[in-house]
């Protein structure tokens, strides 16, 4: 079977853009991606659009042109962008279409996400008691992980420090000022062990990717960036997830719990026919600093506990053995839910094209990996190859 290729990328800068709706930012990204691919909107045969809080993506046909194009909306928590991309590549893989679009955008109010229990099949009291708070879960997850595997708070700080340092060179990032490790560690705690610099914020932004069959990509004369795998998976038994009033007891609880991320990752490597050691650059969900650390292991890049040494040695820096979150990730870009997973793929395409400028990883990268995780235990992974 021929590969699906990413032939065009577009992004509306992340952060806060007063006066522009989430949809506006999505349209901006689509136009940029079309221009990048060298195609026009009427050439697009289908689209999948992701937005969590900024309206129905298919309404953007008003702005782009009423071509009658097939346009399907996707809502899948933090995996929404990944789900849109998975669906889009299937549409090409099936042979039904040659050229299409995955687009994601969002615009969230300031402050923490405000989830309601009924949206997650939970009783109202759970929210009344104050537990519908994603930051609580993330903090409790890393707290146990640090206890089991000897990860220090300093390592959490190193992840955040790297994010802001990388973002200096990413024009689409939101927080582009370096912050010192000392300032990160001494900032007020939000949910122990995390200080305010160790959590990302809900934000705004839009990303679009033009996908094509290999044949179409060759016609367009674009460098072939192949989507070797795109997986989206839900949680396995005994996992510990966002909004969990209880967790199963397991016989041997000395290790990491099974996660949707580990399932999505293993399946993606299986489909692509390569392993974690073959990956040149990775974008890993880092809604908080510890997430990047735990996801390094959940995605198979290192053993649990090795992150302490990896970070101390700078192995995940731009010039390291496995650069991680080269544009500053969610920590520096913020998290517009519908767009966030697609931003990772955008950044990977930039890196594979060698267009990363100040944040370009050295050594002519050939493979790139992206991973998102979200409530209530979903994960999406992609592997690109040039």
């Amino acid at each position: 079977m021929s590969d699906v290729c990413v032939v065009g990328i577009g992004i509306h800068p992340f952060g806060r853009t007063d006066g522009l709706s989430g949809l506006d930012q999505g349209v901006f990204a689509v136009r940029q991606a079309l221009a990048d691919a060298g195609v026009e909107w009427p050439d697009i045969q289908f689209a999948y659009g992701a937005s969590d809080a900024a309206g129905n993506p298919d309404t953007m046909v008003d702005r782009l042109g009423l071509t009658g194009v097939q346009f399907i909306n996707v809502r899948n928590g933090c995996a929404a962008g990944g789900a849109a991309l998975f669906s889009a590549q299937m549409a090409v893989k099936s042979g039904e279409f040659d050229l299409g679009l995955a687009v994601g955008f969002d615009k969230h109010p300031r402050g923490a996400f405000n989830a309601l229990p009924s949206e997650y099949n939970l009783p109202d009291w759970y929210g009344e008691a104050g537990y519908m708070v994603t930051t609580q879960f993330f903090a409790a997850k890393i707290m146990r992980y640090m206890h089991l595997f000897g990860i220090s708070q300093q390592s959490l700080g190193r992840v955040a420090e790297k994010a802001f340092r990388n973002a200096v060179h990413a024009s689409h990032a939101w927080r582009r000022q370096p912050v010192s490790l000392e300032e990160i560690l001494n900032a007020p705690l939000v949910s122990d062990p995390y200080t305010k610099y160790m959590f990302c914020s809900p934000a705004e932004g839009g990303v679009a990717l033009v996908l094509a069959s290999e044949k179409k990509a060759r016609e367009l004369g674009k460098p072939l960036i192949r989507l070797k795998a795109a997986t989206m998976r839900t949680r396995p038994p005994h996992s510990f997830e966002v909004f969990a009033p209880c967790v199963d007891i397991v016989e041997d609880d000395s290790g990491r719990r099974p996660t949707a991320s580990a399932v999505a990752s293993a399946d993606a490597f299986d489909i692509a026919g390569i392993g974690p050691g073959d990956i040149d650059v990775a974008q890993l969900q880092d809604t908080e600093a510890g997430a990047e650390i735990m996801h390094m292991a959940e995605n198979g890049f290192c053993a649990d506990g090795d992150q302490e040494r990896w970070l101390a040695e700078g192995r995940t820096e731009i010039g390291g053995a496995l650069p991680v979150n080269t544009d500053g990730g969610c920590l520096a870009c913020g998290e517009p839910i519908g767009a966030s997973g697609l931003r990772q793929v955008y950044e990977n395409v930039v890196q594979l094209r060698g267009a990363g400028e100040g944040r370009q990883i050295p050594g002519d990268p050939k493979t790139a990996y992206s991973h998102v995780y979200g409530a209530p235990g979903v994960s999406a992974v992609t592997i690109l190859e040039r």
């Binding site: 008691a129 104050g130 519908m132 707290m143 062990p193 209880c246």
Partner: protein, 131 residues
Amino acid sequence: MPSIAEGLFTDDRSPRLIGGRDPVTGRILFPRPFRDDSEPVALGETGTLWSWTVQRYRPKSPPYAGPETFTPWIVGYVELPGEVIVEARLVDVAIEDVRIGMTLRLMPVLLDPADPASPLIPAFAPMEASV
């Protein structure tokens, strides 16, 4: 005293948490799932701390129904041996003294400690402090 929801606590003089046991797999969930054929189980009153954090800002209302004046509180996951790990407040312990593995006893508290009419929520306290 009223509890924050029906079916969370037993009616005993010292109430216990009610979980739901799946009749086929034996798996216990807390709270007992709504409209469910699981068997109600009065869960054990003692356990150990599995993980924890501190809620240091006031959650958004709705859904949060706690007091307007916010004081940070500790949230813990408490392993009730042989049953299930439950999420609940940790009380009667200073933040710097919280340790994974510490032994705890069920001690429901008021959602708003300053308001006696406030409903009871599940909470655990260190064994030493609750004797």
